[in-house]
Amino acid sequence: MTKKNIRKGALDIMFAEWLFFGLAGLSVLGAIGLILFRHPMNGAMSFVVTLISLAGLYALLSAKLLFAVQLIVYAGAIMSLIIFIIMFLNIQEHDLPDEEGKGLFLLGGAVVITPIALFLYKIVKSLPGSDTKIIGNGFGDVREVGLILFKNWLLPFEIVSILLLVALVGAVVLAGKKGVGK
């Protein structure tokens, strides 16, 4: 490997690291916004930011299919439905509950969480690190994911799909007209 190539590789990694920190920061900010915004609509909006930056993180890990699916399913369909429902509820400013002791709760929460966070930080630091590897071109592509899903994980996959069907039937039963045919 020539010197120029090594420098190029280092630049690539640096670029990837910046992207990683940017996306990770965005996803954490979105999650904080989800909790702290008063209006549910703003909360949902910041959740969208989290989901999209998670999709970016998947793309950085070269899981291309997961990136596209995250955008289509979560950022597109599911968030559209959630926002749709929030819009239907038509929540006005005066419908929102008063949050009087908000500062106090934040302070108490911080006191509780800080030792846990420090502890977690120590644990993560003590884990043995591993070098990042360049993986093959096919990784995370439709064909590879499909093959693994339908060869090694066929039964769990089918069970999950039945679970979704059960949820669907349950929703229809719950939403159906009461007392008809009795």
Partner: protein, 331 residues
Amino acid sequence: MSLTLLNVIVAVIIAIAFAALNAAYLVWAERRGAARIQRRPGPNINGPFGLFQPPLDGVKLMAKQLLIPGGVDKVLFMAAPVLAMAPAITSFVTLPFSDLIVGHNMHIGILLIFAFASIGGMSLLFAGWSSRNKYSMMSSVRAVSQAIAYEIPMLITVITVVMIAGTTDLMGIVKGQMGGFWHWNIFPFKAGLFNPLMLMSFLIFFTCSLAETNRAPFDLGEAESELVAGFHTEYGSMGFGLFFMAEYANIVIGASLTTILFLGGWDCPFGFFPGVWWFLLKIYLLIASFIWIRWTFPRTTIYGLLNLSWKILIPLSLFNLLLTAGLLKVF
């Protein structure tokens, strides 16, 4: 890295220029087409055939003051037009115009286009909700229920085509259809696979792309007679301009996808001189038919629209998917 980054930047700039030019001149084509169908001259004062009308309109839109009405959610109100335009432009980067002209060909090209389209759909929700206006809100509720309803048959039809082509790579899908019009996915003669329903799945895809781009007769989201101007009622100047441009960019993307999936992309119908000109000819023919349909048919109702998708298009496309899977297994 610098080279690839430069490539990406150049591709994005070309995509923006292509999207903007198309948006501008498709508005002109739309107005001229409408005028022709309604037996009036249309824009014909500025320049030959009124060709200078779009740049003048653009200058007018950009020179206007950006008004933000009182009481709106400012962040979402400003973000919505950008969120409408950005995914539309990004989609152009993955579209192959010919075997040489493509921004960045990817294996999951078709999934990426639908991923960006789903973000674009959310911008309508944000625009309608942040305007604090009941007409805008109703319009965006309509637009989203319509988008979700029509995304399902559209994606099922795409799965049918992907199964036939054996790849989600847009370029690969076109390459599987090269060599004359009888190889195109729209016709049932393709490579031993005599699927008689391919023409129907083309029609399903075409109808869905009309509905997904909010075009008449499915433009319930911006029905002027009921909802003032729909989700962009409160927008003026370039905010409105961006929504308008995004709509036309989406029309170009819809026509390009239809061409790539069903009409053989840049392939020549008679097997000689394949190239980007055939692609452009096909997409502009499709767009001309979009305009033709818009000014010919009256608007449907929202119930008729949703019934068409859930009761007719989804069962038909599912049946087609099953039939295609069976045929692929048998032949």
